[in-house]
């Protein structure tokens, strides 16, 4: 942390500290950025986190595996479904539980819809941070459709608790599948509109191109994952590298770009929405009939003693669960390796030397969710 001694010196009259946040509409949660500025140039930036620390990891040590289920979707509330299902899959892998095929397909449909809704919220708020209000309304409109579809089957709109060890709580009906297909059709028609409205907009391009370029060595230094890493040319995606569920049965691309700037991170996420749509359509067209819960799930979940790790690809990157069991019903330790934590810490390096007006664009393009950083 730089000392305050710079401030007030005659030769440094333009150097001063500025606090951005913790209550600031563009920090997307309770994040405080301590910026050392010289005029409008950022000399040092220090993200200060922890304002929404709720001790999820401590809670995990106070309840059994089933009781921790509702916590998972509250860690990253935008990828709630992915986290909830991911936690189920982690425990299932430890126990060696087989999940019925229909449940696997339902999980994929729900997770990918959740990924699109998370990207839509990011899209809308990034544009709003940059001064464009209309795209926000477009995104909210489409996101609302997804929330309605998921609401129908899970009973909640944001903090889902749909997964169970061995399957999902409820079967989906034909109406759900038809609504999903309708959404895909509608959203495919809307995406070109997004393109003409935003992507081709010269003002937006000028705000984003060559802004917040990540140096290649940051990827290794900060253990970056997710769309940020893919915008740096690394073809990494947990769904492909360490397939979980039935992702290996689906045909989808991992988009990559090499610019590593704000605009490339934007394009990567837009392309990921296309890919998720394609996964959803494949899943709906191939979904088999059958049960949605495994027939024999132990009533008491007691994983054998040991250390386990399981990772899923959330909308923001590599979400890992490190589970330590001492052979009892209560986890000895669950550590949550959240993508935003590592990604946000890189902000120190990326903001150095940029202009203050670009802060919201860069921060927005990293796509952080504070509750998953603070946990």
């Amino acid at each position: 942390m730089p000392e305050l001694i710079h401030v007030g010196r005659d030769e440094d009259r333009d150097t001063y500290y500025l606090n951005m946040g913790p209550q600031h509409p563009s920090t997307h949660g309770v994040l405080r950025l301590r910026l050392l500025l010289k005029g409008e140039e950022i000399l040092e930036a220090e993200p200060i986190v922890g304002y929404s620390h709720r001790a999820h990891e401590k809670m995990a040590e106070n309840r059994n595996y089933i009781q921790f289920l509702p916590n998972t979707s509250r860690i990253d509330y935008l990828s709630g479904m992915i986290y909830n299902i991911g936690y189920c899959q982690a425990v299932e892998r430890i126990l060696g539980l087989e999940v019925p095929e229909r449940a696997e397909y339902i999980r994929i449909i729900c997770c990918e819809l959740n990924r699109i809704s998370s990207h839509l919220l990011w899209y809308g708020t990034l544009l709003m941070d940059l001064g464009g209000f209309t795209p926000f309304l477009y995104c909210w409109d489409d996101r609302e459709n997804i929330l309605d579809i998921l609401d129908e089957v899970t009973g909640s709109r944001l903090t889902y608790c749909y997964g169970r060890f061995g399957g999902v709580t409820m079967d989906v009906n034909d109406e759900f599948l038809q609504n999903t297909l309708d959404f895909c059709k509608r959203f495919r028609e809307r995406l070109p509109e997004y393109e003409t409205l935003v992507t081709e907009n010269i003002i937006f391009q000028n705000r984003c191109k060559d802004v917040g370029v990540f140096d290649q060595e940051l990827a290794q230094d900060f253990a970056l994952t997710g769309p940020i890493l893919r915008a740096m040319g690394h073809k990494r995606d947990v769904r492909r590298d360490e397939p979980y569920g039935i992702y290996d049965k689906f045909d989808f691309d991992i988009p990559t770009l090499n610019g590593a700037d704000t605009f490339d991170r934007f394009l990567i996420r837009v392309e990921e929405m296309h890919q998720s749509l394609s996964i959803v359509e494949q899943a709906v067209s191939r979904i088999p009939d059958g049960p949605v819960m495994a027939p024999k799930v132990p009533r008491k979940i007691k994983p054998p003693k040991g250390e386990y790790y399981f990772a899923v690809e959330s909308a923001r990157g590599h979400f890992g669960m490190f589970i330590v069991s001492d052979g009892t019903e209560i986890p000895y330790r669950i550590h949550l390796r959240t993508p935003s934590f590592a990604n946000l810490s890189s902000l120190r390096s990326v903001l150095r030397g940029t202009m203050i007006a670009d802060t919201v664009a860069i921060l927005g393009s990293i796509d952080i969710v504070l509750p998953e950083i603070d946990r």
Binding site: E57, N62, A223, H234, R236, K300, Y309, H318
Partner: protein
Amino acid sequence: MSTTLLDTLRQRVPELKTEDNTSTPAAGCTATHVCTTADIPAIAEVFKQAGYCLEMLTCLDMRADGGIFRLVYHFSRADVPDRHRFLADVEPGHEPPTAALLFESANWYEREVYDMYGVRFAGHPDMTRILTEEGADYHPLLKDFGVAHPTDEGNGNA
């Protein structure tokens, strides 16, 4: 598992105990290694040069079982999936050497470990709390902090 990497590792850290995990998918890593905290800088250097990143670092409170804290490091690659887990025991009161000088990501991870467990890292550039409030006098993830009140069901009484 790349053999050259393991050879380099063994040269730098001869007393490393390695367990192969390729046949147990639930472990989620290629191999688990047991080392001492003094070896961590050498290990981090090997992985840094091999292009790995420090994906995760956390701690376990094992004071009830051996009187130690156990640090858990995960190194993984940015191009092909390959994950190595390192377990290093720390006596309470001892300061393990930092990995933050080699991996920037360790900076926040180690601050989190300090915040949650009170384990300080020697040589860390900014050994302050990260998630809880400044000046707090507790370390929440210690097993004896806020003694657990498992619910009836969790207690096995259901």
